[in-house]
């Protein structure tokens, strides 16, 4: 069955099976394949590409995709950055869409440039209202925020909700979310749903209203650091020291701390120092979503669940992959929107680089010098 597929009508889109460890997502789900087919695109899906998300191959076939070798396609859509070997399998002049980690792993970009592949990085889609449907960072962060709370509740030795029972009253857990971007907001919302008392903290001042709009409290430490494009900037040395000290005091009163603070292209700020963990009640939980860039907690061991000072510290690396079906679904819709932006009326892939969204998200161009 592994054979090259071309479409008489035009562009072929390839969907490989993700090879990164622990990855269960797939770049296109059958629903989206169906829509692309309706636009006249051919779709080739690697055998077992959907298995991690419990999507059997037959579902792809039912919507008109071919099971075969995706690497020869005109447009390859992926979730994770391609390995060196995978880049080698790409056709020259092909287009690659996926998370390409342009800021943290420049070598991927260099390899793609070498292979003469046009690469669009999902993380570089600008955070503007119009581009929200292509914003995979948001859609995946949303999954991560939700899952982080489930993980915290799972790890906690305590209940989240308040329960008045015949065997005594259980106080509601207090949850602190540090860094309230998309993931942080969803974490606050989910923790509140589960009955916890929630508090949010961020350095961008406009976030306080958003935190309150979810029924959470705002932890005000008096440090403001709004950066560009809706992101935060890195703190100065002095600000950092001040922040750590004030946070250490605050953290000791919480049962659960969920950290999501990121600064684009920089190591994650250290918000929870070792001493803060020490002061927490035994049995408390820290979930650190910033593990990939070093973690927001000093004691974090990225990818591990460790117990230190009787506090459980979990740093899951790829939470969206733990909810593969919906994470893939949302991701493929993002990809679909971006792909549709590149399509011409007659179904060719010809990105208009005067469009801010395409210009910003494109990291390599095959016709580049």
């Amino acid at each position: 069955m592994l054979c090259r597929v071309t479409s008489d009508t035009g562009v072929v889109v390839g969907v490989p099976r993700e090879t990164a460890a622990g990855e269960r997502r797939v770049a296109l789900v059958p629903k989206v394949v169906e829509r692309l087919r309706a636009k006249g695109l051919a779709v080739v899906v690697e055998e077992g590409a959907g298995l991690g998300a419990l999507i059997p191959d037959r579902e792809y076939e039912q919507v008109g995709a071919t099971i075969g070798d995706p690497w020869a396609a005109d447009v390859l859509v992926k979730v994770n950055p391609p390995t060196e070997e995978e880049v080698g399998r790409l056709r020259e002049g092909a287009t690659l869409i996926g998370f390409l980690a342009p800021l943290t792993s420049p070598e991927t970009r260099d390899r793609l440039r070498g292979a003469k592949v046009t690469g669009f990085a999902m993380e570089s889609v600008p955070r503007i209202s119009r581009a929200q449907s292509m914003d995979a960072l948001s859609s995946q962060a949303n999954v991560a925020g939700y899952k982080a709370v489930l993980l915290a509740a799972e790890q906690s030795t305590r209940f989240f909700p308040m329960l008045t029972t015949a065997a005594g009253t259980v106080k509601p857990a207090t949850v602190l979310v540090l860094g309230v971007g998309v993931a942080g907001l969803q974490a606050l919302a989910t923790a509140k749903r589960l009955g916890a008392r929630t508090t949010g903290y961020d350095v961008r001042p406009e976030v306080s209203e958003q935190v309150r709009s979810l029924g959470a409290q705002w932890l005000d430490l008096g440090i403001e650091a709004a950066g560009e494009g809706g992101y935060a900037r890195e703190l100065t040395e002095e600000e950092r020291a001040q922040q750590q000290q004030k946070l250490t005091e605050a953290i000791s009163t919480f049962d659960v701390v969920i950290t999501t603070a990121l600064v684009p292209g920089r190591p994650a700020p250290k918000l929870v120092v070792a001493q803060a963990v020490e002061h927490m009640r035994p049995g408390s939980v820290v979930v650190d979503l910033a593990g990939e860039t070093g973690g927001n907690c000093e004691l974090t061991e990225p990818g591990e669940v460790v117990v230190k000072h009787d506090v459980t510290i979990a740093s899951p690396l790829n939470l969206p992959a733990t909810m593969p079906e919906h994470a893939s679904e949302l991701y493929s819709r993002n990809v679909q929107s971006l792909l549709e932006l590149m399509l011409t009326e007659d179904g060719k892939v010809e990105p208009d680089f005067t469009d801010e969204v395409l210009a910003k998200s494109c990291v390599t161009r095959d016709r580049e010098s």
Binding site: P161, M162, L163, T164, T165, A166, A167, G168, T169, V170, P172, G195, R197, G215
Partner: protein, 464 residues
């Protein structure tokens, strides 16, 4: 009457109306009252300016007498005795009308040279004024506890027959006068029969219904004043009397509605007796009567309380009333009432049942009180609002060793100053046993689905 007097009268009644408009809102009420009083001063001055006015010393005598009695009475009466004071003041107003009518009869020699309408209005004033006077006196006596608070009645059908008879007799006597028979006995007869009627109508009415009755008599006095105004061709009296008559009637209706009474039922007598006795007596659970109440009454009780403790139970969950309950709670807090929620460990049907619901409705965590924390507070709680809870409030768990739930810790709801229970019927809860609490004299039941009841209370609260 000169033009000046006339114009002053117009000014006076304009002030009455303006003042009355003010009295309908809490913010403007105080000022409204004084504006109306200013109107009254102008009306009196205008009358004294009438050309030909004489007998000044007698006028001074009367006014001084009235002031000497009225001012200290009004100043010193205790807040709790206000209602009977109003009854008394209303009564003397009616008395004045009756006396004036009597004098008019004498002066005009049974309306010999007057147009028909003077006779009609004057005799109407005599009858109604006399009823008001004596009825108000009885109301005063009952509220002041000079007369027994319990209904005194001849038994319903007989009573009504007698009342009707008295009314007919006095009207007939008045008609005879109208046909030109000039005998002082006749007018005295009119006054006396009306007086007895006033006594007999009010005597069978229980203390709880008194405010409605006073308001009704108030409206009557207003009408009699208007009638006197017609007889004397006095605009100020016509307008003032009629306004009081009309607004008083509506007010009576509103009050009766707020108390869940119908005016005919009250006047027919004996109805309000039970409630009155229970409210007055204070014990008497022995004969196991249950007092039921209305949403508006519950609303008023809570709005003017210092602390309200809400006791939710399985019924709140069944009715899915949690959102409504929280809305009500917020409203009470906005009115300055302290609101707490007493969560019994086994309320509902699963551990934490109440927590789930109240959290869904976003009730603040600090307001949720555990049993041990809240039990000490019931004695200084004005109203305990029990919403679909039953077993967890059953005092038998404390006091009745034979009860299947004896020994289970309960919420000491029965120690609150008053208790309002929201449930659909007298059916028992999970444990299948009766709850003495419902027969407590301090307890009032508001029957119906908990959500509906809470929503009605909320609406009433908003109207306050």
């Amino acid at each position: 009457m000169t033009d000046l007097v006339h114009v002053l009268y117009i000014v006076a009644f304009a002030l009455f109306i303006y003042g009355l408009m003010g009295l309908t809102g809490p913010r403007t009420a105080v000022r409204g009252n004084w504006i109306a009083a200013a109107g009254m001063v102008i009306a009196i001055i205008a009358t004294l300016l009438t050309p030909g006015e004489s007998n000044w010393w007698l006028i001074v005598l009367g006014v001084v007498l009235g002031a000497v009695v009225g001012v200290p009475a009004a100043r010193q009466v205790k807040m709790t005795a206000m209602p009977q004071m109003v009854a008394l003041f209303n009564g003397v107003g009616g008395g004045a009308v009756a006396l004036i009518a009597w004098v008019e009869f004498r002066d005009s020699h049974a309306y010999a040279n007057e147009p028909a309408y003077v006779a009609v209005t004057s005799l109407f004033a005599a009858i109604v004024g006399s009823i008001s006077f004596w009825g108000s006196l009885v109301a005063y006596g009952k509220l002041q506890e000079i007369l027994p608070g319990k209904p005194i009645s001849l038994g319903k059908p007989l009573q009504q027959l007698v009342n009707l008879g008295l009314l007919v007799v006095s009207v007939v006597l008045a008609v005879i006068i109208g046909f030109g028979v000039d005998s002082e006995l006749l007018i005295i007869g009119v006054l006396v029969f009306a007086a007895v009627l006033g006594l007999l109508v009010v005597l069978p009415i229980g203390g709880a219904d008194m405010p409605v009755v006073i308001s009704l008599l108030n409206a009557f006095t207003g009408l009699s004043a208007a009638a006197t105004g017609l007889a004397l061709d006095n605009t100020a009296m016509i307008v003032a009397g009629m306004i009081v008559g009309a607004s008083g009637s509506i007010l009576t209706n509103l009050m009766a509605k707020a108390m869940n009474r119908s005016i005919p039922a009250i006047v027919a007598g004996g109805f309000g007796g039970g409630g009155a006795a229970a409210a007055a007596g204070g014990e008497g659970a022995e004969d196991k009567t249950v007092r039921s109440t209305s949403a508006s009454d519950a609303a008023i009780q809570m709005a003017y309380a210092n602390q309200v403790v809400v006791v939710p139970g399985y019924g709140m969950a069944v009715a899915q009333a949690q959102h409504a309950v929280h809305e009500m709670g917020k409203l009470l807090e906005a009115k300055g009432v302290e609101v707490k929620y007493a969560i019994h460990p086994v309320a509902g049907r699963m551990p934490g049942h109440m927590n789930v619901l109240l959290a869904e409705a976003d009730v603040p965590y600090d307001q949720l009180k555990e049993m041990d924390d809240i039990n000490g507070e019931f004695s200084r709680t004005d109203v305990a609002l029990v919403i679909g809870a039953n077993d967890v409030t059953n005092p038998a768990a404390r006091s009745n060793p034979g009860s299947p739930i004896h020994g289970m810790p309960i919420l000491n709801v029965d120690q609150a100053k008053s208790i309002i229970v929201l449930k659909r019927s007298m059916n028992p809860g999970f444990a299948g046993i009766e709850n003495e609490l419902y027969y407590d004299a301090k307890t009032a039941m508001l029957f119906g689905d908990a959500k509906g009841s809470v929503q009605s209370i909320t609406e009433e609260l908003k109207a306050l």
